[in-house]
Symmetry: D2
Subunit: 344 residues, 4 copies
């Protein structure tokens, strides 16, 4: 079958043929119906340190944001049946470390990442995964929507941990897919005002089109900190840092109000010099967010999409057939896309 991933190291993405996978005990085979490209996949395109550290060998099928239909179940599979519509959690926890045994498998000490540490990801027709990370999806949710539940879950987890109270003001730094999801969610989770900031023209336009934020600030043209104070008098109650930029991390601490919260979602590329005293003097609470809760975030996300209070497909800017993945990666690497869906 056709697959997209890596046949060798180095820059770029390969399209190749690979054998269909066979289910081991406790595993299921899923026919992929929709799949999306994640920022993490770009590491493999660039073949950077992260990719080299994680690569399980060649050929390697990429992709982990997806949905599909169960077509075969391995020995001992109990919760799922052939024909079930599913999406999947990327983190495959060990199940026996301290964090797994204390209800926090999302920070498992021996985690394996589906589609990253495994040979078969979702950029193909049939993929294989442990039953326990597959989540059944109700009929009312389309395959395209379901393929976005994984990244949407990061936004859900971030907003849940932020503890927004009705009337809070919110800033979201970064208008990538996660940032946009957070803007949409904040608006229906109690925020009285949502301010988005971004530096890329493409993403500024996208944020304005999605229209969830009350104000979209071009952080290259005006000082986002000053703008936030103009709009809120005393800074925002909650900041979501969803860009990973060193600059944004600092701006977040400056624009948050006294006794405000900063939720760090973005992965920073390098150590960041921050003013610890700002945290002390303003009694800031800074919270890190890693992935999603397993699996409460998934059930919440499903209910949220079902409620139609939110349209997750608004962040999708491209829909391409699977074999056009190389083009999709190029577009993404230029920063000229929101979420890209690939259809096998």
């Amino acid at each position: 079958m056709e697959a997209v991933g890596k046949l060798k190291g180095g820059l770029g993405i390969d399209v190749f043929e690979i054998d269909e996978p066979r289910p081991g005990p406790g595993e299921v085979i899923v026919e992929v119906r929709a799949t999306a490209i994640c920022g993490t996949d770009l590491h493999f395109y660039y073949w950077d340190d992260y990719a080299r550290r994680h690569n399980p060998g060649f050929p390697k099928v990429l992709g982990h944001e997806f949905s599909g239909v169960v077509v075969e179940v391995g020995e001992g599979v109990k919760r799922l049946d052939i024909g079930d519509r599913v999406a999947a959690e990327t983190h495959i926890p060990c199940g026996s470390c301290y964090y797994c045994r204390t209800g926090r498998p999302h920070i498992c000490e021996n985690v394996k990442l589906y589609g990253i540490d495994t040979t078969y990801g979702s950029f193909t027709k049939y993929t294989v995964l442990p039953e326990r990370v597959a989540i059944r999806i109700p009929e009312e949710i389309s395959f395209e929507e379901a393929a976005l539940l994984e990244p949407f879950g990061v936004a859900m987890h971030a907003v849940s941990e932020a503890g927004i109270k009705p009337g809070d003001t919110v800033a979201v730094l970064g208008c990538g897919p996660i940032g946009l999801f957070i803007q949409q969610l904040a608006k229906i989770s109690g925020a009285s005002k949502v301010i988005a900031t971004e530096v890329s023209k493409y993403r500024l336009n996208l944020a304005r089109k999605v229209g969830a934020a009350d104000e979209v600030v071009d952080a290259l043209r005006e000082d986002p900190v000053r703008r936030v104070y103009e709009l809120t008098c005393r800074g925002v109650d909650v900041v979501f840092e969803a860009s990973g930029s060193t600059k944004a991390v600092k701006q977040g601490l400056e624009m948050v109000s006294k006794s405000g919260r900063v939720v760090q979602v973005g992965i920073a590329r390098r150590p960041t010099k921050i003013n610890i005293n700002t945290i002390v003097e303003k009694e800031v609470r800074l919270v890190g967010i890693a992935g999603r809760l397993m699996f409460s975030t998934w059930y919440r996300s499903i209910r949220m999409v079902q409620s139609r209070a939110i349209d997750v497909l608004q962040v999708v800017t491209h829909r391409l057939p699977l074999r056009q993945a190389p083009k999709a990666f190029e577009t993404l690497s230029r920063g000229e896309a929101g979420k890209i869906l690939l259809i096998p």
Copy 2:
């Protein structure tokens, strides 16, 4: 000036003339622009125990949900100026008890209630109140909206304490003004589904007209507990009990899911037999709500109304000139009104 309240004990409401009030030190005179009738005012209409216990003597002007303009300031008033548009907190805290000294004046041990324990309430042209319970209202909020901020604040406080997380399911028992406000708020505070229950035909219709709840259940015609399980599989994550009915209190404990929360807003008329074991076995959290936080709930409420994510005027069913107050009380006592606004 004309005023509405009590000239004597017994059933009914009087319209009478009273002298304009004079401001003492730290007090302001406010010209009332809009005022609303609260369930608490009905105690005086019926002249029940509560009224007899609180009555400061005759004549007594009723009313405490209102907005207006400062027209005179007493000695030592600093925060407010003539011309300021204001609404007011009903609880006048002592400022020196343990709860006042620990940031919780809303549960002050020596609280005095404006419009209830005081001679001058808001059902008249000019009223008098301590500067420190007056809250300045921005231009974007109309006098009618501002007059509803006090009861709206109860709903805001309840929803804040409920800690709704995105995707939670919610039931609101009772469709009086507070219940309706909670339904509106829950819907934009993360709830994926809001189910309202009520027994009065009038209020069922009103709830359907307001349209915030996804489902409005006639609790006389069908079993609200069974309906909630049909709609949610395992019960709702959060129950707001906003009726005070003994039956609803029990239904709330039955319809809440395991590890769910019940927020008790309604005042029950008599002791309620509950199954403590339900609370234990389901690990329920039951939280009581009294009034509003002073004054953080007020600032949050103002931002929420300003955001236009919510229209507080939707719960208003009647607007009457002040002198028609007796008719308004009769209508209310028959349960045939949502919120009634009186315009002096």
Copy 3:
């Protein structure tokens, strides 16, 4: 081998011979070194409704609070080895219901109770249980201490959920083993004052001997509510209701301070008439506690016992050989014991 439990329905406890158990897949055989009698076991002694509902058939070995050594492992057991010292969680969760899948197996919808719903409990030489509910115990903790970790865990879970802040005042209603554990824990978890109440002479004496509470109140001789107000001025910040008595439930709500918390641990025998308005006016938070968190409470409990800040054996009043279990049950049924340890 010799075992203690039920050979038939009706009042009493039987001593009998039973075959040694064989391990199924994922199960382990544990040689019991110390085991304790729980209040739940008394249901079987009295042969009440609860016992009849749960009984898996005869013969039935009772007992679920215990420790021992793994002597055989079934197929697929990975975490445990022969020779491991273990204690065990009583709740055997299904692993696939909503609560299990969202990190809350202690409130599993299909839970099976070890030693209650199963044929083999711990009142014998060898018992069998699923590996996943067995917890490894470090060398520094004795078998007797380990046998108490299950009930101690209830107290740990209760104190964890109470969120005691340094300087809080605490009341513990009931001086059974769980109540005593809570008194000990509260004292080293931030409480500035711990007040215990109880009606049984035997338990009052035991509480005084354990000595964790600053004040032990004989609730038959003096009004515990009045006493709490004398000792704290405004009521206690936190109440632990650990008796299940209807009276104590009411007293707890009366003696808690405004914005205080009531943690309900005791199982009430019948519906309780409570004053919902007390909860509203005081903004009380009432929290139900069911079992222990799996397995974070276990790890916390182990660290707490290891720290030697607490001596769990202080609540033990009797140590008897296993075959004297019938006598032990009689003593317990008369209320003349704290915790009774049985040694096989």
Copy 4:
């Protein structure tokens, strides 16, 4: 009367004569019985930027950690009487900013610091302060103990915000007075293990003498991060950073366990380069602590000292007559003291 503070800029501390203060409206005169030197006072000794920014003019009496007896009350004083024993909160809030109006005066936007921004501090016989920041002290607490309630309150506030659950492991970075108080408090607030780190020989010895920490680590001789992992396997659940050292801030983030909390109490002298990804990947919660809650921390602190579960005087290493203050400042500047008490 004799006073200690500054007669001019530059290094050093002066002893001089100054007129006794007179009480304005709402103010009280307190006869100082015991007073302590705070790290903040050292800014004035060194005459650094902080001192120059805050200095209200010369002569300036230093000192703000103290206790004494009310000897005169100004107009309008209601809560206090002559003869009352009091201590005082350093933060004099404006009472009308957003934070004051929302129950958080400790982060008031217009705060004035008693003994820092005011002419009269506590290093003298009679001092003057607003009634509302004075806290009545019960008889059971000595004047020396009461003089330490202000810094002890910082530790109380930090431990309260940390939300230690029974069985948590704790590290305290820094063994100055606040660090020592936190070690003492953590030990009786649920911690199963307390690990202290410090670089100064003097303070290491002091920490060992106080004896609250289970382990005192010399951070110059061994790697505190490695030591913490040896003692806890997976890092500590809670870190209190109480040194302000750039190195310690980094160590704290490294030694905290996944989903652990870092409470930042120390004021850092310069921006700190931290690894934001550590916060994200471990889902760390970082919380800043500023001062104490007004006044709930005070009431909690009083109850804690009254309970005798803790001896705040253990951190006192020197007691000197007021006029020896210059010598005391020199000793402190060499780092050769815990807390120094001055007796007028």
